[in-house]
Symmetry: C3
Subunit: 156 residues, 3 copies
Amino acid sequence: MTNSKLEQRLNKLGLVLPVAPDPIGIYEATTILGGLVYISGQLPIANGTLQYKGKIGAELSINDGYKASKLCALNILSQINRLGNNYTFKRLIRIDGYINCKENFIEHSSVLDGASDLFSSIQGNNIGHVRSVLGCSSLPLGAAVELVAIAEVNKR
Amino acid sequence: MTNSKLEQRLNKLGLVLPVAPDPIGIYEATTILGGLVYISGQLPIANGTLQYKGKIGAELSINDGYKASKLCALNILSQINRLGNNYTFKRLIRIDGYINCKENFIEHSSVLDGASDLFSSIQGNNIGHVRSVLGCSSLPLGAAVELVAIAEVNKR
Amino acid sequence: MTNSKLEQRLNKLGLVLPVAPDPIGIYEATTILGGLVYISGQLPIANGTLQYKGKIGAELSINDGYKASKLCALNILSQINRLGNNYTFKRLIRIDGYINCKENFIEHSSVLDGASDLFSSIQGNNIGHVRSVLGCSSLPLGAAVELVAIAEVNKR
């Protein structure tokens, strides 16, 4: 779908694309190879500030985690959007989620649903994505969630 | 190899394909792009029940971990098998293993061998796969192991 | 670039390729598919010995972590180099970094820069790579860092 179509669909869901966060080092936010775009790990950042910091299941609830995942997913879309009009988002292929949580946490899937539900709402009846998720002991900047993605794009 | 060939080879090893577990959320177990199939993170589930729960090196032994990895690998094959007769398994490209364990655990490779040995037995003299493994503090449902895979398939 | 060109560029930086570590199990160090090479998780090993063991932010400093990442990156290049003269390194597509550290660690990006800075120095003005990084509770052999990579190669 075109960038304006993507933004329309998000607006219908009451959402706007956040400004795509810049990389924190000498690497790229995205790189394209064939019809695939690889996207660097996205944190729950909005307006340049980390919005969800700490551990899910401790200082943050599962619902916080859901919202953090959704924000990471919006940043993924924002990075794709920043590729400009030469490439348009076709579909999400894969997300890998890293959840910052305690040892006894087991509801990783509920947290990652924040991202999967968003992609599902946007893509409509298209084929879905695959995913994996793990619980880790720490994340960059103390973030609650990090998402890594591969998406298919159309070249115009 | 065809699905029946795959099942024959497993049977020779005294193994049967488990029923492929359903995704736990709005995502797919597999997605195909070009000649590759991306497979969602697989847990050591059989008959709908998690078979290996807890931490390797604590309540579970390395041998338990080996068997848990093998079961995850069988679920990977089962997901590929479920693609039907239009696609047949060619070879495993890559597995990434997440091992639920304590901080002092260092035998991750022995655990992941449960999967690598299985793929090696099935593929015969074919080129092998690459892999990575890490120790994480928690996994979905409290699983002991999770495996993420990319495989090459032939379209018929 | 050719293997000798790669070694020249490293030599200019005062670096030499380490001997590529062998896999620890029945898997491959690299596998090629199309123009991509997938590389198994690389540890900070030189001369067959793990050089950085333990947790960054505890017994090891961030600077140790930076150097460990750089060594993992050199091993990635060494694995590509071992493909022989039929394939030459074109560019790094993606690295995923696993940092062995304590729960309160937040400087993962500074550690991974050891790898990104190296690839950036070698590739000159080429397009950069994407990356992700997480903090994990343990790694194989007690390693401080593990890097997983996908690179683009040219077939000659």
